[in-house]
């Protein structure tokens, strides 16, 4: 069977399982949604009953679960308790800043991660290796909200090099760094260890015996082979990229899904939270699918294996 089809076949149940978890957790949260809906205002039983009906809460859980899955598949995730707008619309409106930020973080993380990884890995146990790895460790262990605040303080407030608010490319720099630093740290460490491993392989010795320059040995013979573990990491850490974006948006007071999610959680706006999580899981699974395909591009052995299945 085609590898692509097979993967898709696995994606569908994964999505449904993820959505089920979302549904179950949000529906066992204590507190009557009707109260939340009414914003704590006192109301007669009649009104409450009406609201309940409007929300579809009078139906049995199983039925609600069924229609949730069906609607989720159609992309219809109900209306927000608070704004009474369709949640899909709210998400669409707030989507772009977050996508920009995630891509910014991703680019920063991959670029500097690989750069530092290669810088360290090509000369293991040297001073430059040690320094690079200490920086990478800082990137991993420092919380991104703190980094964000520091960046604002140093480059925005004190030095005044980059604007902290506003739109456009420049204002994206600091938030991207703050999102991507964690990523960069992990990438750097993994790229380094994987590169050190590859450089000890027999085929690198063969390349050297052919008189290939150091530069080409890294570029043509090592990097591609070394990139498989970092790409895997990429897949695993997309989730962290999303949470990173959420926190960063708060720190930089940027609009976006992060802000939306935070507001939704604070207001216990269940349909909105639910919709956001549903979307994020879908994106996460989709991105992992892309990563899966990238393996095949990097490694012909994997590509062939898939063809033969």
């Amino acid at each position: 069977m085609n590898f692509f089809l097979k993967k898709l076949l696995i994606v569908v149940p994964t999505l449904y399982i993820a959505w089920t978890v979302v549904f179950v957790t949000l529906n066992i949260i204590p507190g009557d949604p009707v109260n939340l809906m009414l914003g704590g205002r006192p109301a007669s039983d009649e009104v409450r009953e009406n609201v309940r009906k409007n929300l579809g809460l009078d139906k049995p859980v199983i039925e609600r679960y069924g229609s949730f899955l069906i609607n989720a598949t159609k992309g219809d995730l109900g209306k927000s308790y608070l704004t009474r707008q369709p949640v899909t619309k709210m998400i669409k409106e707030n989507m772009w800043p977050t996508i920009e930020l995630s891509i910014g973080g991703l680019i920063f993380g991959v670029f500097f991660g690989v750069l530092f990884g290669v810088f360290a890995g090509t000369k293991p146990n040297s001073i430059r290796d040690t320094i690079s790895m200490i920086i990478a460790l800082c990137g991993i262990s420092l919380p991104s909200f703190w980094i964000g605040m520091m960046l604002i303080y140093i480059f925005g407030t004190t030095l005044g090099w980059v604007p902290i608010v506003g739109d456009g490319f420049v204002s994206l720099i600091l938030p991207s760094i703050s999102v991507g630093l964690f990523f960069a740290g992990g990438m750097a460490r993994l790229t380094r260890s994987s590169l050190v491993d590859v450089l000890n392989q027999d085929y690198i010795r063969t390349a050297r015996s052919k008189g290939i320059s150091k530069y080409n040995i890294i570029l043509k013979h090592s990097l591609r082979n070394a990139m498989i573990p970092p790409v895997t990491l990429l897949g695993i850490q997309f989730g962290l990229l999303i949470t990173g974006a959420v926190i960063t948006e708060e720190v930089f007071a940027r609009p976006g899904l992060g802000q939306l999610l935070l507001q939704a959680i604070l207001a216990k706006d269940i349909p909105l939270v639910q919709a956001l999580v549903v979307y994020m899981t879908a994106v996460y699974i989709f991105l992992n699918l892309i990563v899966d395909f990238t393996y095949g591009i990097i490694d012909p052995r994997i590509r062939l294996e898939r063809k033969n299945q």
Partner: protein
Amino acid sequence: MDNLLEVSNLNTEFKSDYGSKQALHNISFKIKEGEVLALVGESGSGKTVTSLSIMGLLPNNASIKEGEIKLFNTNKDEIDILTLSDEKHNEIRGNDISMVFQEPMTCLNPTMTVGEQILEVIIRHKKISKINAKKEMIGLLELVEIPDPIQRSNEYPHQLSGGMRQRIMIAIALACNPKLIIADEPTSALDVTIQAQLLELLKKLKNSIVTKTSILFITHDLGIVKELADRVIVMYQGKIVEEGNVLDVFERPKHSYTNNLIQSLPEFKIEKRNKENIQNITKSDNEKLILSIKNIYKEFPVDKGIFKKSTETVKAVQNVSFDVKENKILGLVGESGSGKSTLGKTIIKLIEPTSGQINFKNQDISGFNKKKMQNIRQKMQMIFQDPFASLNPRKNILDTLMEPILVHNLMKKNEAKEYISQIINDVGLPSESLNRFPHEFSGGQRQRIGIARALVLKPEFIIADEPVSALDVSIQAQVLNLLETLKETYNLTMIFISHDLSVIEYFCDEVAVMYLGHIVEMAPVNKLFTNPKHSYTKALLSAVPKVKTKKTNKILIKGDIPSPINPPSGCVFRTRCPNPGIECTGGDIKMGLVEVEPNHWVDKCCVKLD
């Protein structure tokens, strides 16, 4: 002849946490233009370090303390290699001096097509256009006799067999018409049949290369030296102990180490034994059967992933029947992938046969479950090839040997201790070894421990799977001697699995030749080696490079062993047979052994042709 390369007074050292260790001591030698110089010596003697020193590819913890390596150019300029910068050295590597490495499986980049890997070196050193370079690349593939060169050049290393990958390595080495090719054990990881193909190729190249390319051929195999080299250097513990013309060295070795090396070759030992007539013929009256297997089949389902039910099978063992007489050694020989190890494990029931009967001491054990096998296991033991992998690294030797005794309730713990130290002495190790751990032993010593572990349960029957293949020739001889004495003292019967025909010839009483799951010929050793009947046996015997006999016409086996998932119909060997009959090519004859002379069994399709 002019000198091409002069190595003088080379001292190379390794640094480690425990201090430094000198790997090469005052190595000096010369390579002349157009000659094949062989470098022999046991593992760790410094052969590879010598070649890497010349290539400038030593690992980071190594350094050259002293010495000079001079390369003479076409216009007789001398280049002092050791003083070159890395950039300048890169001009020479792959261009003037190139190298072929031992491990064909790992030496090529898995993410580049083999064509690209050849192209790369051409473009690097010859200033020619990509189109012309491509033409040269295809030409090189033809030169090293790769079938369908255009198609193959677009494939990745893992799509090629070991033999083909090594041909690709040779193509890379030849690409820029180098003055010197260093080949470090280029055929050691391959089957004899594939080795013979490659040696034939190298010989052809050697005779056809007009530009007087020299070859430094590193090997531990003296047979190859005899076949290929003009001169030979013998290394021992980082020093050169002997140097001279191949014929002189073999006939009149000056150094005792060289002499020992030659004397420990199985072919010499066989000759010696035949002279002294050690073989005691009267002894073979004892014809009691200990093992008799009938129509054994073993097929493994092919794993196709979770979505597909597998219908294909790997046909590892096909209709094998034979008897083993008490106190005899039956050798099992064949190329890798022929099913030797599977057959061995099936007999001892480490894996279940698909069908067939295994009679051990007049008891059919093929249907026995694990519990019933417990008692049988005690009498049947197995010795494996890789002694390190089969020993638990966290257990000392005493515990390792104690365990089976306690499991089988053979004796009490304090009794066992004495018994174990007796056995460890029998395998030639001091009793103190019992308190030590596997990593503290050399390869040969570990194999002795493996043997001791097989012996503790006082078995009557042992299956030894390539027990000496990982060992150096001289150590091999010691371990074989040990097995021979033990066979007498413990009254053992053995199945001895090996791909090395000379070891089999020296060590076994009877031989069964296996190919793609079938036994194609079986006979007492001297019959089989002097009068082989099956085409495969003949080709296999002729493939072995030997020191003694001067072989003129080799029977070469074409290509690689076919997949055991879809073996050829009819005679399984017909796709590679050097001289198939007309009846064979149709693929509809049935295989099966017939007795052509007393105790000499040959596959019946091949008999008809004689």
